[in-house]
Subunit: 289 residues, 4 copies
């Protein structure tokens, strides 16, 4: 244990080409900075010429500054060609939630947040409808109504971007938000927009997945939490789960039963994202959970 | 209880347009024939104008003959426009298993059969390779090698049909049989050919589903047991199951892990089919399990 | 289909010794009353001398009265020694929810109720703490605070009974209510009190199941919804579910993760109970879901 | 990447009191020995004064010898008070399987072994019955029949120990072996004997768990793979899984359905053990899977 009585906790996330010496370099660096590794996960797609991913949680003396640590680490990062980021665990991300009319995913997130299960700030909830205003405000959160009319989608989206910037948002969760975002919007939050799709992707891409699932006669229904990219329902998958159904379920029954899988899958994905446990790699994720 | 000391068990399966009086007619018929209902399941897609499905298991005095019961029931069947069949539980179906080189599904079926878990006879196992002959023969079963050469598929299939007819086969299980069957073959065993597809259909239709699942970065892999129709991987689904995976799984790891889901899902579907628990309805199944 | 344009839906639940003719008698009765069977489930522990259970959902002409149907059915009930009840689907049960401080199970029930997923009225929520008053009242429901002091438990319980009677309550849900009820209380609501125990019973009976699960090093944690009897945690089980955990989970992590399984399992059990899908038989349940 | 063209793969497993510098020391050691870390997992019960666990897979130049690496690592081990072991991945453990009459767990292991899924040698299968001899021998493995008579249990066990030593066995799997082992036997294979218990422990400890599960009316049945200790069914749990059941399942149905969970859970536990992925810690396991 470090002699320092006061410590701060930080996380270091690394992606780089794999080669010998990375773990040694990182652990030597942390040791020199009197930091103590609390948890460490790593994954290599292929030890010979593949990609290397690492997540280290460490405590460091609080008289030290995170900015100084970052500066000091730059040399290691350059040496190994790393993409890396170092964040303070206490410095919460700022998350906006987008909803339409269905409230189950929203409520699951708000309830977990209130209970201290989600390590994040929620400066704003945005909706294209007014209907969930009182729910959101009852949790002491700001609700922002941005109607989305067909012929004025661009303006609505521009307004949303302004709200997000005004609140310094760095992660957006689409909690059953029934609008497709423009490529410009998606690009301004790369791998920072999480959507919940109400099917076990890649089955039933697009609209009305429960109706399609009903028509296909599947015996399990699912939900998929994924990062949003330009390709609809094709972004990197963070989490999926399923639920057993049978011939007695109508399309509407599937929709109702599916809510449970949707809200739990989305909440897990959000938890991992805000705790910096997800690394994106091509169109896939490495989840250190 | 009927006074008869010796009884036989039979199953009655019914599909017909729903209307009042069906259950009464069936139960009155059975009561008049001194049969005792052991189990009964029914399902209606819509009580007003939908389809009605029923499965009744009953015991009847063994001095009575099943043929006579069938004849007597015809009147009820006509009255309600039923598709129906009545089978003796003791009269096992005759099942052929088709395999290529992978043995996990075959072994699961053979082992359950040997243990008395599958209520079926297995007169023959057919393969396009010789490699599983000794395995099959060690279970005391007949193995039939029918090579499938590209330019002689029709002849091979014709040979297979002859083998099936010679063994009075009424159900065919494709236990990872890597050949596509012709429409003629499929038509001669309508809803009597069960295939195991190594994905959670309709995701990853076609060849190499594990490779596709790996590339898509899914967090669950699955397997689907379904009846074979002319549309590849589009037939009525009998059973599906999934298994959690993560970024550490290579495509090959998925293939290996997936075997467990494949064999268990297929074995369940076969068990339900041979126990007359599956009714097909359009492109879906009603499974009374 | 009956000619009646206006119909009402009812449910008939039956338990009796098994013997031939029951299904015929019930279906003949319903047919004579111009009722149309919408759904029917039955189960027999043993066709020779066992117990028989049946649940029938039927539509009947609304000019007919349910009271008249009940009177008419009495003869059938007597003939077969049935325990039976006949209820109108539209006549909702009246459910009280008891809570302490944890709100996850309460919120799941309130949210499903608001969304029309639970076919029940909730005239009152009772708690031994004030803390959830505003939550309950925000759903437009009555909140009743009954403090439970150690030396005055009897009085508190008496007060609770009065509240329940004043609100004509016929089902009580203990949604993480951390008080043990007296035998007198339990007896006055036989098989009408549903509790959620935060373990996979019969593992970890009694207090602190998550701590015990942590100490035992289990790889799955669970929850059990059951009817309350005099034997603590020993009543008939309605529903159970589990969640995978690993060595990284602290006892507190188990407690947090377990909430999801608790709330979902309890909500399912409540749904089945209020829809008259659960029959109690000795210390077990038959669930027709 | 190391310049060496020929490499060998090894695993290092470490348990020790947590303190700063462990990861650095291990990674520096491996770097100096020109070894390349392929995979690394670590877990700390508490970064301040808890226990630290680590599993490192690494490749090293094959002109180097594992014995030399072990000698060199001793210094690090002493410095941090480590329990550690270093094994060659290519040096397979030697596993004996004990069975009685039920074959499902045995067959699952033999089949996975034959398919190259289990990285282990199986020099001998021991049974107190003759019935599975031909099965075992058909896999080309040695079968050893040691009858266990009530009054001669000690002699039988002594004979078993001799067989194990004669075959240099270092892991014993009880694949539904229905005999209790003596403390002396257990002590001679500490945390090297894996048992499959046919319940979700700690529920239904002892004999006849499926009968007990049936009588309790549970809605899920399970299986538990654990290390054997002197306390029956109380050893460290490696893996557990469950299966949904309902009121239609008889005690015998539970037994039959349970076989699937038993064999899959045991096979997973064995796979992890032989790949050195399991560390025992008090009465718990850390599984780096």
């Amino acid at each position: 244990m470090s002699e320092a009585i006061h410590q701060e906790r930080a996380r270091l996330l690394i992606s780089c080409p794999d080669r010998p010496g990375i773990v040694r370099a990182v652990s030597t660096f942390l040791h020199q900075e009197e930091a103590n590794i609390v948890q460490s996960d790593q994954y290599s797609t292929d030890p010979k010429g593949g990609m290397f991913f690492m997540r280290v949680v460490f405590d460091f003396p609080s008289e030290q500054k995170i900015e100084a640590l970052r500066t000091a680490f730059e040399q290691v990062g350059v040496q190994f060609g790393m993409h890396w980021r170092m964040t303070l665990a206490a410095e919460k991300k700022r998350m906006a939630i987008f909803v339409s009319k269905e409230d189950h995913c929203l409520l699951e997130l708000l309830w977990r947040h209130k209970n201290g299960e989600l390590n994040v700030d929620i400066p704003v909830v945005v909706s294209n409808h007014e209907s969930l205003r009182s729910t959101v405000e009852s949790y002491g959160l700001s609700f922002y109504h941005i109607p989305v009319q067909k012929e004025r989608k661009r303006e609505a989206e521009q307004q949303a971007v302004e709200v997000l910037h005004a609140h310094n948002v760095d992660v957006v969760v689409l909690a059953r938000y029934m609008q497709i975002l423009s490529p410009e919007f998606v690009e301004s939050f790369p791998n920072q927009i999480i959507n919940i799709h109400h099917s076990f992707l890649p089955a039933f891409i697009g609209a009305n997945p429960y109706k399609k699932a009903f028509e296909r006669g599947v015996k399990l229904i699912g939900a998929t939490a994924h990062y949003v990219t330009d390709d609809l329902d094709e972004g990197p998958i963070i989490e999926q789960d399923v639920l057993r159904v049978n011939h007695r379920h109508s399309a509407e029954d599937l929709r109702v039963a599916g809510r449970n899988v949707e809200k739990i899958s989305l909440a897990r994905a959000v938890e991992w994202h805000v705790d910096d446990k997800v690394l994106v790699f091509g169109n896939k994720t490495v989840v250190f959970n």
